[in-house]
Amino acid sequence: MVPLWAYLLLSGFLFIVGVVGVATRRNALIIFMSIELMLNAVNLTFVAFSRFLHSLDGHVFVFFVMTVAAAEVVVGLAIIIALFRNMETVNVDEIHLLKG
């Protein structure tokens, strides 16, 4: 049986890839995809723990995370579309309205 640490290691790796993606990429769409990757890494941790603790609470949390992720993507993509319509770019370095 694959032990718990293997799943945790993979999930940590995916989370870090997501963090590096958010920190280094400048395309708003790819930043959003990296956030999705991080949420999924957390989901994997939930399911792995719930398997090894013989509990189903983790599965329920995964459902909630999925709901929040779906809502977040919908609003985020709407913001990206509105931004692109006004500024003709999805590069977050060129979007600096709040910097004055």
Partner: protein, 171 residues
């Protein structure tokens, strides 16, 4: 056998995730992310979470990524909108620090005394008897009924927000 499957899915998920961050064009990133999601669904099946695996494929690969691809194609970005990927030192540093922290936590948590504190009542035999979907549904609609109903509020808010944000304003 289980290790072979785990390693296949894990390597696939990891490689596709790295590919997603490294790709220049968002459309290839999205395709890499879909590959990651499928590999992750395989891992869920390995963890005996069949319901989660299929909901994961339907929601992520089926709905969220289609939405992403739709928006990418709607925006109609030119190739010159995708500058080569540069990895600044700040991002790398952040990644390294976080990797070290997570590894340290993992090393602390691997001790069985910490992780496997109290066991729940849903072991494999119970799940096999009860059925995975039935068991999850029972717990979702009994113990987590209020949070479950509240998620409908999140979805409603997201729906209204998306319509308001993406609507073209009359001049």
């Amino acid at each position: 056998m289980e290790w072979a499957l785990f390693l296949t899915f894990a390597l696939l998920a990891g490689a596709a995730a790295v590919g997603m961050v490294l790709q220049r064009s968002p459309i290839y990133s999205a395709l890499c992310l879909i590959l990651t999601f499928f590999a992750q669904a395989g891992l869920y099946v390995l963890l005996h979470a069949q319901l989660i695996a299929f909901v994961h494929i339907i929601v992520y690969a089926g709905a969220i990524m289609v939405l992403f691809l739709f928006v990418i194609m709607l925006l109609d970005l030119r190739p010159e909108d995708h500058p080569p990927v540069r990895f600044g030192q700040a991002g790398m540093l952040l990644g390294l620090i976080l990797a070290a922290l997570l590894l340290a936590e993992l090393a602390l948590g691997i001790g069985p005394r910490i992780i496997l504190g109290s066991q729940g009542s849903y072991d494999l035999e119970t799940l096999r008897m009860l059925g995975n979907t039935q068991a999850v549904g029972r717990i979702l609609f009994r113990e987590y009924l209020v949070p479950f109903e509240l998620t409908s509020l999140i979805l409603l808010t997201a729906m209204i927000g998306a319509m308001v944000l993406a609507k073209r304003r009359p001049e």
